[in-house]
Assembly symmetry: C2
Homo-oligomer: 220 residues x 2
């Protein structure tokens, strides 16, 4: 029997790599999709490519959609400074990129429909994140409703599922899953800056390092 | 007082031009947005540029997002033949591009949020269209719900409105509006093929020509 196909949005980070590995574990054939969206650096795309090779994906599209044309975020406008003083409860930081997840998921749904894929796999998680509005369960539920109405296949009752298996996991739990699934964590890139080594002070580094510390102190 | 800003998705066709003119008539400052999405021809982008000049828009972004990487439509895959035998009730034709409107509106919302714009102006209409799932009112309602949840501004109660002023108009009514608003109809391009002259037999030409004929027989 031919394997069912899924689309994995690969950012080069730990979360999307873990979600992808979960889909592969479930027996899906995975097509990778990454975005050249005018981000500050190419390191994450390089990481995405390396992870795609690690997983042995036959297809890995990198599509250009240059959101830095209008910026509006420290990740797409180099004139804005990356925050370095930690995640603050209830505050959406300037690393939030207007509309980014909506654009990415929309493009993922396009590829899914064109390839008769069953799911779009998302590394989104709502526990340890930076307060972004487009990482929350109600957002995903609304997108699922839209996906059902948007497509030819959805109207025919064969809608693409937005699958976010990490949505309710903490970063520590995600790391445990990543280790169980033998993700090459050293090949993932989460840091917002594009230096040779992770900066250690951006929100993304802080969340990752905090989880790593907790993991080292727990019994695996 | 500074004018409020809107984003107009300009396809180069009659509908989006008419919707844009309606926003200008209401006193909004309009930023244009068009998509280089791997479509069959460049004529519609040229038309979009001409219309943007006609309206005197200060800003007109043309963003690349190449959906022909995976095709799935006669508009993004030159190996698929354009249908020429007319619109059929209840059938979604192969000119439907998987996910296209969702991708376009998502990118429009990104630009709107980055520029504090109040609306994304859409030329979508649900009466005389080709049966596309992503031109219907329930689709737009679902997208509005998503937009409210997706963005920082939406979470703060200042969501961007998806404004589709032509949604309930027939093509004849749209043409009457276009004429009232002095749209240079000869500068708009609706034909799916990219020949020197409109082909007259694709669905888009048929819908337009049929409306033109009705208009000529009615008392304006």
């Amino acid at each position: 029997m031919t394997k069912e196909t899924c689309i994995a949005l690969l950012s080069g980070g730990l979360d999307s790599a873990t979600a992808t590995a979960l889909a592969i574990e479930k027996g899906y054939k995975v097509l990778g999709l990454s975005f050249d969206y005018g981000q500050r650096h190419r390191k994450e795309l390089k990481a995405a490519k390396q992870l795609s090779n690690h997983f042995g994906l036959e297809t890995h599209h990198i599509i250009q959609v240059d959101l830095s044309m209008w910026g509006g975020s420290a990740l797409t406008d180099k004139n804005q400074k990356l925050p370095s003083d930690g995640v603050k409860e209830g505050v959406i930081p300037n690393t939030y990129v207007p509309g980014r997840n909506t654009v990415f998921i929309a493009i993922g749904l396009s590829l899914a429909e064109a390839t008769n894929s069953k799911k779009v796999i998302l590394g989104i998680n709502a526990m340890d994140y930076s307060g972004y509005p487009d990482c929350r369960p109600d957002y995903l539920d609304a997108f699922q409703l839209l996906a059902n109405l948007a497509s030819k296949s959805g109207r025919e009752g064969k809608s693409t599922e937005l699958w976010a298996p990490l949505i309710d996991l903490s970063k520590v739990q995600i790391m445990k899953e990543a280790m169980r699934l033998k993700i090459p964590i050293n090949k993932t890139w989460s840091c917002y800056s594009g230096n040779d080594e992770p900066c250690g002070i951006c929100d993304s580094c802080r969340i990752r390092n905090e989880a790593m510390k907790k993991l080292n102190h727990s019994n695996l």
